[in-house]
Symmetry: C2
Subunit: 194 residues, 2 copies
């Protein structure tokens, strides 16, 4: 849904061709998620199939590049996209949350180690993001906001991981099915638990 609408948005400025779309998309979003050129074409094909864009309507430009043009239906779809907020439900499942939840649920997983490895990794990418942000004072504003959205998310994730750890400490030995904790399970110690 992101790329699809992103391309639509760019096409609202006027007809464009494949590589141009990739270029402008990456300028806008900061190449943070590099966009494979092949995907631009597959997405354009699907948009055309759904009548949201028209390919080669006025035919190719003078250099023979195929131009794509947004349709009225496309404009409507795009307007709807901008009008409708992104909801929790529309988001993909958070893999990290699931991983932690299941690490807590099934026996034989060193949850502390998972949390700590993750915190390490997240802190490192936070550092890289900060460096990235710093190295771009003048650049496009949209660029910068995208990086900052990741920074905010990474910070929140670290806070959450800390919170998880403190919950873990509080939880040690309290209820539930005695996960053999702290270190590697000695082989063959997994009691069947019911």
């Amino acid at each position: 849904m992101s790329i699809k609408h992103g391309l639509l948005a760019l096409l609202q400025e006027g007809p464009k061709y494949g590589y141009q779309l990739r270029g402008e998309f990456e300028v806008a979003t900061g190449a943070t998620w590099p966009l494979n050129i092949g995907q631009v074409y597959t997405t354009l094909t699907r948009l055309e199939r759904d009548n949201l864009v028209r390919g080669d309507a006025g035919s190719a430009d003078k250099d023979g590049r195929s131009m794509y043009e947004i349709t009225d239906a496309g404009r409507a779809e795009l307007a709807k996209w901008f009008e409708t907020p992104v909801t929790r439900e529309s988001r993909p499942r958070d893999e990290l949350a699931i991983k932690l939840a299941l690490a807590l649920t099934v026996p034989g997983v060193d949850v502390r180690a998972v949390v700590q490895r993750q915190r390490m990794a997240t802190m490192q990418s936070l550092q890289e993001l900060t460096r990235l942000k710093r190295s771009s004072t003048d650049g496009e504003i949209s660029w910068q906001l995208v990086v900052e959205s990741m920074i905010f998310a990474a910070e929140a994730e670290i806070r959450w991981l800390d919170h998880c750890e403190s919950m873990l400490v509080r939880h040690r030995g309290t209820p539930r099915p005695a996960v053999p904790q702290t270190y590697e399970v000695p082989a063959g110690e997994q009691e069947a638990r019911s």
Copy 2:
């Protein structure tokens, strides 16, 4: 990748059948993302195709339910999952960030309105999440941590939206650079409404 590994994790406790997996998955993650039963079976089929689980190896249980069992390869894959942190790159594109970036990039979009609508929606889901968290003091701990991960994320999102708005104010009036060079811009077609 989340569901796939989630099911693998549950299967490490021992052979289970479809509905059982859905139930335990939702107990662990809090039914925050309801898991369609059909998806359990499609995922199991694909896991079996990849030799990560074995279906009906010891054949069905006494009540005729088909049991699935994790294989050694599955256990290895699962261990790898728990060992490897979730990286920024492995995450899906953030639709909200893209939306904002493109709202800033293309003309004719009321960015302030987009931000404000989103803040409103996020605040509301934050409220619901808080209520949800409160109404579950005793429940499974993993349950609660998942809800809290969403709360942390929502809070970060609101902070980011505020940040965006203040950036907008600071940026207002600054002419947009950008816009391509390679191609002749078709006579002003972009209507500001939409």
